[in-house]
């Protein structure tokens, strides 16, 4: 557990190249580390520090600020139940309670088999579909106890819940973003419309 592997180091370098300053890649690289290991290991933070020119302490300061970064192993599926205002007044607390009952754990903990972690989450920007929950940041809106049962059942049995494919915790997106075409440190953009003649300077 671990530093970034060779393939991820290459991906990391590609990420770093998108930014005028290396440090800007800190958060994306932490996501990369979380994708690799499922959570953020101290070794990964040290490695990211080396890659972006920061001390391990600086990387940890960042990694502990943002809630998506987990510093202990979490389940393959992180079930986040929103209990913010719109969801709460439409029954989110009941949904959370039910999820806890179904999985036999309290929010903030992980099932013994390492498959599920429940997390109480802040507003997920799905208030129109309240109450809502996420599994590894994939949305399920207007959830009910029955749908929670179905989602858990599908995940337990290796099926896509409600037809949504859910990668293991840590993976945000498998799309490889295009490499930049302009230098990261370029000073000015092209002027494609020269100033009209006769303008006083």
């Amino acid at each position: 557990m671990a530093r970034l592997n060779a393939q991820n180091v290459e991906r990391a370098k590609a990420v770093i190249r998108r930014y005028p300053r290396e440090r800007s890649a800190t958060i994306p690289l932490l996501h990369l580390a979380q994708e690799q290991d499922g959570y953020i290991t101290p070794e990964a933070m040290e490695h990211i520090g080396e890659l972006v020119g920061a001390t391990a302490a600086e990387v940890q300061g960042v990694a502990t600020f943002y809630e998506m970064f987990k510093h202990e192993p979490v389940g393959t599926y992180l079930i986040g139940v929103c209990t913010n205002l719109s969801c709460m007044i439409l029954g989110a607390e009941q949904v959370l309670e039910h999820t806890e009952k179904v999985l036999g754990i309290k929010a903030g903990s992980t099932t013994v088999d390492g498959m599920f972690t429940i997390e109480e989450m802040q507003c997920l920007a799905a208030c129109g579909g309240a109450p809502c929950l996420q599994v590894n940041y994939r949305y399920f809106e207007n959830v009910t106890d029955e749908r929670v049962d179905g989602i858990v059942d599908a995940l337990r049995n290796g099926r896509d819940p409600e037809g949504q494919s859910i990668p293991p915790h840590g993976t945000l997106s498998n799309i490889t973003l295009p490499a930049p075409t302009t230098p990261a440190d370029r000073e000015r953009p092209e002027e494609i419309h020269p100033a009209p003649q006769g303008v006083e300077s």
Binding site: L85, A125, G128, Y139
Partner: protein, 451 residues
């Protein structure tokens, strides 16, 4: 009751399930706004934007064209699109990013060209995996088709757009905190002055930070005209804006409206909009502009969705999020819920927000759980005063004869997160003090739903 149908500007493609693909996007007028922009001089785009009266849709409502004109004369300069939508009650930007990602990119490109930026960053909330995927794929396709990158559409102008993943922190929605985060740091808001992004932004270079909805409006304005956009709506609420309606309404959802033409009553009750309160219940209170906005009540339903009159009532349209609470709602718990949110999301940088928010949450939790003391009510207000001194904003209240304090309020904090924790506490406590007292005296909730 019914309202006149609004012009669809940013939501024109919402009915189209394939709108996120580049083919559908281009087939429905996509990137025409950019093509038009590249035929113009940057100054003229800024003029058109100013003429459109478009204002920022992130919450603060600053005039977009004017924001651009404040850029310091220095290079490199950057455009950052704020897609870290996290304000409680708000869910419009996510929908725009998931369903019409090219429109976001096109709007960002128009902005970048207009302000002569050297690179664009799309800061997208980390918890929105689908938005990340959709924008990522849109970027791959747009690069491939020459809408982004080198020599865009043969114009000779080049720019790169970088998709940046957030990682879960509400405060990143504050634009200077977002810049810190984009620099790979803890998202501590910067102190203004001097750190206005237009003067000292990303890497302390001039930077424009615009919200997703704001930039999504630009392709339409370029395809039509600033004047045409300005002709929509009325009053100080020209153009269209998306209102997010949630809570105890029959039809929760996002609605693009010519806000200046309608009232809260229209938004909440019109059958083609909110559709009214769910059967058997009546409205008790509503959040008019995201969790940070002081609450309004039944007596405010006829207010027009116009920043002027709304501010006169001591609140704001903010991010356009209306959360409706009906008579089944425990006001102590509802307020505690939001106080908890802002306390949880405090970055911890400044004392009043870090300590004050946390303290208020603890007091409210005690009251909600039957362990409150009568002196806690004054204590709550007093702690609130330390965070937001002076006459605290609140809506007018016919029942108590309270007069509205016009927006904005004063604050001892660096940014609005601290006072945002005071807002729900104060809104609930001044209007529903009896519910707080009942919790304290009976040790349980009179509304019955929660405690």
């Amino acid at each position: 009751m019914s309202v006149t149908a609004s012009q669809s500007v940013v939501f024109a493609r919402m009915g189209d399930p394939e709108a996120h693909t580049i083919d559908r996007y281009v087939a429905t007028g996509g990137y025409e706004g950019l093509r038009r922009a590249l035929s113009m001089k940057p100054e003229d785009i800024e003029a058109a934007t100013t003429a459109s009266t478009l204002t920022g849709r992130g919450g603060a409502g600053f005039a977009t064209g004017q924001k651009w004109s404040l850029l310091a004369d220095a290079y490199p300069r950057y455009v950052v699109v704020n897609g870290d939508e996290s304000e409680p009650g708000t869910f419009k930007d996510r929908q725009l990013m998931e369903r019409d990602p090219h429109q976001v990119i096109e709007g960002a490109l128009i902005t970048a060209y207009a302000v002569r930026a050297t690179r664009v960053f799309l800061y997208v909330r980390g918890e929105m995996a689908l938005a990340q995927e959709r924008i990522g794929q849109a970027l791959v396709d747009a690069y491939a088709k020459g809408y982004v990158g080198s020599n865009i559409m043969g114009s000779g102008w080049s720019i790169d757009v970088v998709l940046h993943w957030g990682a879960g922190a509400y405060v990143v929605g504050e634009e200077t905190a977002l810049l810190e985060s984009l620099e790979g740091k803890r998202a501590f808001p910067r102190i203004k002055p001097p750190f206005y992004p237009a003067a000292k932004g990303l890497y302390y270079q001039p930077t424009i930070v615009n919200n997703v909805e704001t930039v999504s409006t630009l392709p339409w304005i370029l395809r039509h005209s600033g004047e045409e956009y300005a002709a929509l709506g009325a009053g100080r609420s020209t153009g269209t804006r998306i209102m997010c309606v949630s809570g105890h309404v029959k039809n929760p959802g996002n609605y693009e409206v010519e806000a200046g033409n309608i009232t809260f009553r229209d938004l909440i009750y019109a059958p083609e909009l909110g559709g009214g309160i769910r059967d058997g219940h009546t409205i008790k209170a509503f959040v008019p502009g995201g969790g940070s906005a002081p609450w309004l009540f039944e007596d405010h339903l006829d207010l027009t969705l116009d920043p002027g009159p709304v501010a006169a009532e001591g609140t704001m349209l903010g991010s356009g999020a209306v959360v409706v609470m009906d008579d089944s709602t425990c006001m102590v718990r509802a307020a505690w819920n939001l106080v908890r949110f802002y306390s949880h999301e405090s970055c911890g940088q400044c004392t009043p927000c870090r300590e004050g928010g946390n303290w208020m949450e603890k007091i409210m939790w005690r009251i909600e759980n039957g362990a409150g003391r009568m002196e806690d009510l004054d204590l709550l207000l007093d702690v609130g005063q330390t965070i937001s001194p002076g006459s605290f904003p609140h809506a007018s209240n016919k029942a108590t004869g309270l007069e509205a304090t016009p927006w904005p309020y004063r604050m001892t904090t660096i940014c609005f997160v601290g006072p945002s924790a005071v807002v729900p506490m104060h809104s609930a406590l001044t209007r529903f003090r009896d519910e707080f007292v009942a919790h304290i005296e009976q040790g349980s909730c009179p509304v019955g739903a929660h405690a």
